[in-house]
């Protein structure tokens, strides 16, 4: 961090008011971001605990730790919690809430009270799901496939699904708030093509949220009605079509994958540019590729149903469309790489995470092409190959970006500096642990080990033990930041206003920012990522 000393302002958004009420009734987007941070962190470690149980069971071939029914609940709760209560809200609701108004030069989101409401809705939805966990769990898998979920499962499907349903409205409120804010609240001079790419990616994410989430909401209601009253919508004995559920579910849940990864791509664009001290190569291509991913994302849901009895012609078209998603994704990866070229690269912690993202996302994305290929998908469908693929995107991509973003903006959010040495060490541990956990799963899946079983043939044990060992390393990697972030709040050095020498309006205000973000409304006169400006000095070498 550079030595420029910015005196901490007397009043900022954290010390302007004290007490539980000042947090629970706040409408300040920055405080709501911190509320979300605490909540999703809790869910992350809870979901992680179920992952620990899964990996423990899979150390040995026979199902000797738990019964298969219990194991079904483990992976279901892991999936439900991680997807709906961590991955979807993490970057938008934490970093997005904090940064969208600041990056567009506004004093708050357009609808501050709706923003607070979204957090309460999230907590209520989480409470329903946690109730289901405590009272015995649910075993349908996070996908709630019918007719198992609607007719046969004897677990707490309704409570869990209701939790997911309610939480959906919290994302809708956040997405709506972002869209209106980005359209209507930009500072003078901040045209669309001067916006940071993080804003573009969250804009695309918000489009998916508001158009996709309501569909899964109504689908969940239909499952609930089917389960309660046996109305026949998804029951083939009564003329219903279980495949209709899959269509409706994946119409949301495939785009939801992009809800999870697009914000991560936005973070990485910021990091790559700042730590190579260059403007992002091909800004408009990167910006529009976010929108293209959002649009194409709505047209590929059928690739989840290649072996579900969908027409083979539909399968071919969905296969083709799925390949198309690779184009905007590759544009991003190539443009980030081109940004690095001849850049003045700084290896600070956020940049390490950005590097991790690019490599792991590339592996995850390319294996996605294997799965979009009809014939290959028939071979690896429902195997560990799929599990490895989406964990490379979700954990290797999205969680890496989230961690990178959290480190990058931590000084801004809290006014405290985290210890760089520990942070680099844990980034390395996470990278090693992640690959050791999930790379063997590609091989396991290719060799034919199906997902969602608690027992497996003995010849798969070595790879499974590697995976479990990797998971324990990964777990340590996630605990260390938890400790030093909390430590930094009390003992960390006070952060400068712009410790990384970054462009972007959020760095032109003190750390932590005053309640209304800026002393006076900023006026924007240049493009984003103007790193050639002599006014900026880069992060000091540590």
């Amino acid at each position: 961090m550079n030595g420029e000393r910015v005196p901490t302002p007397g009043r900022h958004y954290i010390n302007i008011a004290y007490g539980v009420k000042s947090w629970l009734l706040t409408t300040d987007h920055k405080r709501i971001a911190l509320l979300y941070l605490a909540t999703v962190t809790l869910f992350f470690f809870l979901g992680g605990a179920f992952a620990v149980l899964i990996r423990l069971e899979l150390i040995t071939p026979p199902g000797d730790m738990v019964q298969s029914e219990t194991y079904n609940k483990f992976f279901t709760m892991h999936g439900v919690i991680m997807v709906f209560f961590f991955l979807i809200p993490s970057i938008p609701a934490v970093l997005g809430n904090f940064l969208v108004p600041m990056m567009v030069g506004a004093r708050d989101l357009a609808f501050p009270r709706l923003n607070l409401l979204s957090w309460y809705v999230f907590v209520i939805g989480g409470a329903f799901t946690l109730t289901a966990v405590v009272s015995g769990g649910v075993d349908t898998g996070w996908t709630f496939y019918t007719p198992y979920s609607s007719t046969y499962s004897n677990t707490h499907v309704i409570a869990t699904a209701l939790g997911v349903f309610i939480t959906g409205f919290s994302s809708i409120l956040t997405g709506l708030n972002f869209i209106v804010t980005i359209h209507k609240m930009r500072a003078p001079g901040l045209t669309w093509f001067r916006l940071p790419l993080f804003i573009w990616s969250l804009y695309a994410t918000s489009l998916i949220i508001i158009l996709g989430t309501p569909v899964v909401a109504i689908t969940i209601l239909l499952v609930g009605a089917e389960r309660l009253f046996h109305i026949g919508i998804f029951d083939p004995r009564l003329g219903g079509d279980p495949l209709l559920f899959q269509h409706l579910f994946w119409f949301y849940s495939h785009p939801a994958v992009y809800i999870m990864i697009l914000p991560g791509m936005g973070v990485v664009s910021e990091l790559i540019s700042c730590f190579s001290r260059k403007r992002v190569f091909g800004y408009r291509f990167v910006a529009f590729s976010s929108v293209a991913i959002a649009a194409l994302g709505f047209l590929v849901w059928g690739h989840h149903m290649f072996v579900s009895g969908q027409s083979v012609y539909a399968g071919m078209i969905f296969s083709l469309l799925s390949f198309l998603v690779a184009i905007p994704s590759a544009i991003k990866v190539f443009n980030w790489t081109a940004t690095l070229y001849r850049g003045s690269i700084h290896y600070d912690t956020p940049m390490l995470y950005a590097f991790g993202f690019i490599g792991l996302f590339t592996i995850g994305g390319l294996t996605g092409l294997f799965l979009a290929t009809l014939a290959v998908d028939v071979h690896v469908h429902d195997t560990y190959f799929i599990v490895a693929h989406f964990h490379y995107i979700m954990v290797g991509g999205m969680v890496m970006a989230y961690m990178g973003g959290l480190h990058f903006w931590w000084p801004k959010m809290t006014g405290c500096t985290y210890p760089e040495g520990w942070a680099k060490l844990s980034a390395l541990i996470i990278f090693v642990g992640f690959n050791l956990t999930f790379f063997p799963q590609f091989i396991l899946g290719y060799l034919g080990m199906p997902r969602r079983y608690h027992a497996y043939p003995e010849e798969f044990q070595v790879l499974n033990v590697m995976s479990s060992a990797g998971a324990s390393i990964l777990g340590v990697g996630y605990l260390i930041p938890m400790v030093y972030f909390l430590w930094s709040l009390k003992y960390g050095k006070a952060a400068a206003a712009n410790p990384w020498g970054a462009t972007g309006l959020e760095w032109q205000t003190p750390s932590p920012p005053p309640q209304e973000n800026f002393e006076e409304t900023p006026v924007v006169v240049s493009e984003a990522y103007n790193y050639s400006s002599p006014a900026l000095s880069g992060p000091a070498r540590t």
Binding site: I210, L222, F229, L244
Partner: protein, 222 residues
């Protein structure tokens, strides 16, 4: 920062601390409602998709089941709802010209018409209950296509039920607006709550315009 002097001519406008001027706040509210309505379209869209799938799979059962709906009551309700959209539009107009009595009167008329709609819907639901047409263990329907007719009625109750839920929420909003209009909160410069509630109300109305033919009229000429 924070204290923004109200520009001349906009006194009485409750400007949020984070907005620069009344125009920005009004545009944001209106745009926010449009975005919300986009969400709503997709919400009902899921049900319309299910309807389309099953109607094309079981056209005869759907036509047969549709004949058990009361076309007369459905038609009356359609007229009532279109009338309520008219009074809602009049309320928005009264707000724009700042006529308080007009706002209160038209909002209450809209509220009354919406209540009439729900009352008639309630009567229809009661009839279905008597005729054992509510899906579930108590469902009775003559003929071999009984399960498929049950799917029709499941969709009928989900779709009209979701629509009615939106009506109930709308009535609540109208009640609050009428009370606030009576207190003189809305003026020619500040009336976006009435305007965006109007958008919502018209949307709910349009949903019914699709539901009515799809549910009530498909069996008429079979």
């Amino acid at each position: 920062m924070g204290a923004h002097g109200a520009p001349p001519g906009t006194q009485g406008f409750p400007l949020g601390h984070h907005f620069d001027d009344p125009a920005q706040q009004t545009e944001s509210s209106t745009f926010g409602m449009w975005v919300f309505l986009a969400t709503e379209v997709l919400f009902f869209g899921g049900l319309f998709t299910a309807y389309a799938v099953y109607r094309s799979a079981y056209p005869h059962a759907f036509a047969e089941a549709s004949r058990h709906l009361d076309v007369t009551l459905g038609t009356i309700n359609t007229a009532v709802l279109i009338g309520s959209s008219l009074t809602m539009a009049m309320a928005v107009h009264a707000a724009q010209v700042g006529r308080r009595a007009g706002q209160v009167g038209y909002l209450l008329m809209t509220l009354a018409l919406g209540s009439v709609f729900l009352a008639i819907k309630g009567v229809e639901y009661a009839h279905k209950h008597h005729e054992h047409l509510i899906p579930g263990p108590g469902f009775r329907f003559e003929g071999p296509e009984a399960p498929h007719a049950q799917i029709f009625f499941a969709l009928y109750f989900m779709m009209t039920g979701m629509h009615a839920l939106h009506m109930v929420i709308g009535l609540g909003l109208l009640g609050v607006l009428a009370a606030r209009a009576r207190m003189g909160r809305f003026t020619a410069v500040y009336n976006s709550p009435i305007e965006i509630t109007g958008l919502y109300w018209h949307f709910v109305d349009i949903v019914w315009i699709f539901l009515f033919p799809l549910l009530y009229l498909i069996g008429l000429h079979a």
